[in-house]
Amino acid sequence: MEQLTRDFLRSQKLPHIWCPGCGNGIVTAALVRAIERAGYDQSDVVIVSGIGCSSRAAGYLNFNTLHTTHGRALAFATGLKMSRPELKIFVIMGDGDCSAIGGNHFIHAARRNIDLNAVIINNYIYGMTGGQHSPLTPRGKKATTAPRGTLERAFDLLELAKGAGATFGARATAAQPRQLEQLILRGANHKGFSVIEALSPCPIAYGRRNKLGTAVDMLRDMKEKSISVERSFQMADTELEEKTVTGVIYTLDAPEYSEEYYRSIEKTVN
């Protein structure tokens, strides 16, 4: 198993460019282990990514990898999936990448319920450009473009996806890498658009500015604040306010787009 995992990494491209304490490596490792456990043929797996810190992960993974333009990863992946429905496509995006510039593609991928596995690494900030606020930055938190704290309300990414039609939504934190791996695997096995939100510390561009301590402090905080979805059912809304609900938030049944399309044209061709 260890050897396989190494086969899935482009070791000659390592070490990675991420800062010390960044959670992107933990999430990427969870993704690799999930792919390994899914037992896919290496040739059938494609990693698509957008632009930003997280999206550099594609370059380190030994599959067919597609590093696209900012926000457009899901649109590239949609074309690819439609041309080759047998491919297992994982789309790595950052919070800004996915929900701001890529917001439209995100809701429409959800609406089509196309079989892509979106892994969104949410570090609450634009890391690569140096710490500007994103649509997922919590209200009141500071960023270079919100020096007095952002007034904007944050998206609930999973609710947004659900409202748009996504059929699988899950959340975990970098403090729980095994759970994250499990959830990515469940998302991969789910037929339809899967959204996995992976909360990840950015100690440099986000933590430092908001006085959240070291990377270890941030991870500990993530762990303490996370509540499993099962436990959350027992809790009042007020109790959940400062908490992060983790686990499979929802799974729904709806037709998957690429399968539907090819089934429909089979009728036309015959």
Partner: protein, 375 residues
Amino acid sequence: MPEIKPVLMQGNEACAEGAISAGVRFYAGYPITPSTEVAEHMASKLPEIGGVFIQMEDEIASMAAVIGASIGGMRSLTATSGPGFSLKQENLGYAIMAEIPCVVVNVQRMGPSTGVPTAPAQGDVMQARWGTHGDHPIIVFSPASVYETFYLTIAAVNLSQKLRQPVIMLLDEVIGHMREKVLIPEAGKLMVERSSDKVPSDWKPYDEKGLTPLVPFGFGHFYHVTGLFHDQYGFPTGDPIQVERALDRIHGKLEKYRDEIILTNYIGHKEPRVAIITYGCTVRSARAVVKKAYWQERLPVGLLSMQTIWPFPAREVEALANQADVIIVPEMNMGQIIGEVERYACGKAKIVPLNRYDGEMITPEQILNEIGRWL
């Protein structure tokens, strides 16, 4: 001999039919006048032959999906008009950088901005050349008839496959919406081999030795595709030597295959005193003028029509400037290609603009009047 049947069709339909004949099996687009019939035709035809039609959420997504499908191994095409073309530019640049074949159709309308959706214009010549950022090569065809639209779209698909380079079909509203007779050969006779059919075992996605076929994802070669400057294996690099080499590579392939890319047509007097250089629907008025002035009245007049406008047919224009005293450049804009004509005429001929930008075609009479002033 392949069977050839005459069909009456619209320019936009001819574009879609040409694409299908050349093996295009993927279309992603967003509706916009006056290009919509390309999408509508594709939506009707592609599912019948096992292809994919998808109406995306916007123009940016359409361009992205076309690139994604091409990496999956399908020949792909998208169609739009001016405002949509602007939105596609970033991902068009991506396709150039990552060397992903695809065809982008822009049926021009009057601009800037939303302009006049249904009025003809040739205002996107420079957008087609320089719309995306950075120093990039580009191939742009500009057909003058429905017949030419059909065959140039086939050429565009095949050339894009061969050179792993996006090709733009720059139509104007007149060509897109006009109906004419097209002679359609038997299906399947018009397609070049897919470049990935012959892949050497030591294949590299961006081989420094030159043109290399694209291997679709899922065929065992694990490689990286990025819009960043990359080495011959596709991995990002900031090394000045590799960066320069990458740019030389994408420009060099167009220079090397120049004679296959550049298509022009000359009619009229062998040693003209007054010549016309034009492209797109304006060719039609100019051709009528040459028929009358040269074929009937034997005046020393000639016409260079350009099916390829980018890369610019510099040699052809230079040769004509050595012959003619005056070169008239009719364009349905405020003057775009004329700058290139001046550049390559190098002062050897007088270059005269003839522009119309009121949403109407340039008439043969207008061109005749201009010729009359110089003969």
